[in-house]
Point group: C2
Chain length 323, copies 2
């Protein structure tokens, strides 16, 4: 199998690349290093089944740079995953989260790549969906620009499936965490605590409680869905959506405390705000119904808090100054 991965230098991109290589696939990763880094792909550099190209997948016709190659699957993971940044610069978020998807779809169409994987997000559900939220939620009203970009992406994937014979697997992730983080709450807390070990200012009251998933569990879910839930003939069997996260949840307070503990801080103060949300567009409670992906035989190795605590430990090492 020949696999093309956009955002291949990100957290999920790194783990998915490793998994596909292990399964015997040839993998071409593309990334513009807007969030991921060269270090995220270093481990594959001597693998002859791996190739990398630095390019911006929001630019039309980027596939001209990989002309002559062919692929069985396109995993489109490139996005701006920094949700609060989208509020300040919606045009940037639109480009990185939505345009990248549209151009990846055009590439799948033009290069006749039959299978398309997409990393969507629980952010598409917006505020106050039923919890745990099933894939067929009656209201899809995102409150973040990021969530809008993901839902807009899903909309075009759905139409491309019908119009151009592409089969799609869409995964609405919880918060994916692991050693090679490029953004998010753990990344922020550890970065800020290293700059100022005596004080951590938390956005919101810290009771925001969200669902986290370890990146290895995440990519094993993607692989299982591909294997156990092949495309059928109807649109609804060719455009498949899966929630992908653990069933539990972890609070921001737990993450803040554990971050201080892992860094061996003694005299520190964690300051919380009064607001129940951390920023405009923040969804303070998330919980996903994952019974559909479980029907594929998926069982996560770690629950939400175990995934978070492991990620804090691993990312603290990975991001240690001097590494």
């Amino acid at each position: 199998m020949r696999v093309l991965i956009t955002g291949g230098a990100g957290l999920v991109g790194n783990a998915l690349t490793r998994l596909f290589l292990k399964k015997g696939a040839k993998v071409l990763c593309v990334d513009n290093f807007s969030l991921g880094t060269r270090r995220h792909i270093q481990e594959f550099e001597n693998n002859s089944d791996f190739d990398f190209m630095e390019l911006d997948v929001s630019v039309p016709d980027w596939h001209k740079k990989i002309r002559g190659q062919s692929f069985d699957l396109l995993a489109h993971l490139a996005a701006n995953s920094d949700i609060s940044l989208g509020n300040a610069h919606p045009e940037m978020d639109k480009r990185r989260t939505f345009e990248t998807t549209f151009e990846a779809l055009m590439v799948a169409r033009d290069m006749k790549i039959p299978k398309f994987i997409f990393s969507s997000s629980s952010a598409v559900y917006g505020q106050n969906p039923p919890m745990p939220t099933p894939e067929f939620s009656p209201s899809l009203h995102p409150v973040s620009i990021y969530g809008a970009g993901k839902l807009a992406s899903e909309a075009f994937i759905s139409a491309f499936v019908e119009n151009y014979g592409i089969d799609a697997w869409v995964f609405r992730f919880g918060n994916v965490v692991g050693e090679k983080l490029t953004h998010g709450v753990i990344y922020d807390f550890l970065g800020r605590l290293r700059k100022n070990p005596s004080q951590l200012n938390v956005l919101g009251n810290g009771f925001q409680t969200k669902t986290y998933i370890d990146v290895e569990d995440c990519v094993s879910g993607i692989y299982l869905a591909l294997e156990k839930s092949p495309a059928g003939s109807l649109h609804s069997d060719r455009f498949q959506i899966f929630n992908l996260s653990t069933e539990g949840a972890t609070s921001v307070r737990q993450i803040a405390e554990e971050s201080c503990r892992v860094l061996n801080l003694k005299n520190y103060k964690i300051n919380y705000e009064d607001s129940p949300i951390g920023w405009v567009g923040d969804v303070p409670k998330t919980s996903l119904d994952v019974s559909k992906i479980k029907k594929c035989g998926w069982r996560p190795q770690m629950d939400s808090t175990a995934a978070v605590f492991k990620a804090i430990k691993d990312y603290a090492l990975w991001s240690q100054p001097g590494t």
Copy 2:
């Protein structure tokens, strides 16, 4: 009230402009004449409350051309409404249907326009939704590029409502018809029958049965929703969605026969295909649950077939060669 209307030279734009002028508003229409024509705005040209500017609202920062003005409401109607064209040129449809919305939202944000009206479509519901389809349908999986552009637009409107203090009224239209058509089945049939009065080739088997609404009923629904369903404080009361169509439906066969009758054709043949759909991405049956807009006191003056038959008659006159 000062109103900015994009797509002001279209079918709905024309009727909405007339209604707002009648209610005492000042109206600035913008349009790039991709579908609408100068003739669509001619009737307002001597009205001092009316102004027009030719511009493409998919271009970033188009509001710089109307700098110094201020508005209470932006009605964003500009789009590519030619669904089958979107299949051939998705990048064009993305620009005209989605980018126009994104840039209109940026204009509303930057010009601090507090109210935003959007012409969405039943195409967001995709294939086989429950019928009649309520606004909170569990599956929003569009099968046309057009429907994708509309759902993508809704997603960003939802996020802009949360992020930038804009209140939005989204209307999912059935097929809007009237004298000043710029596209669609009646427009096509009459145009083709005038070229070849002996034969009409219909896309699909003609049993496609969709919901139609007269353009005057459509704009009266928009106006009533604004008046009777003001924004509240929660996101769900500030991002409001209304289905807007009649409860009945009309078949393509009825439209073909009536078109021939209105043109006084005697020896003609209507040819149907075997396929239940007219083109890839066509949704052959649509029926909308309109109880929500009815709660605002809305009562359509015409049912689906009356609206269609009137539009055939009126558009036949409007489009008569030499007019």
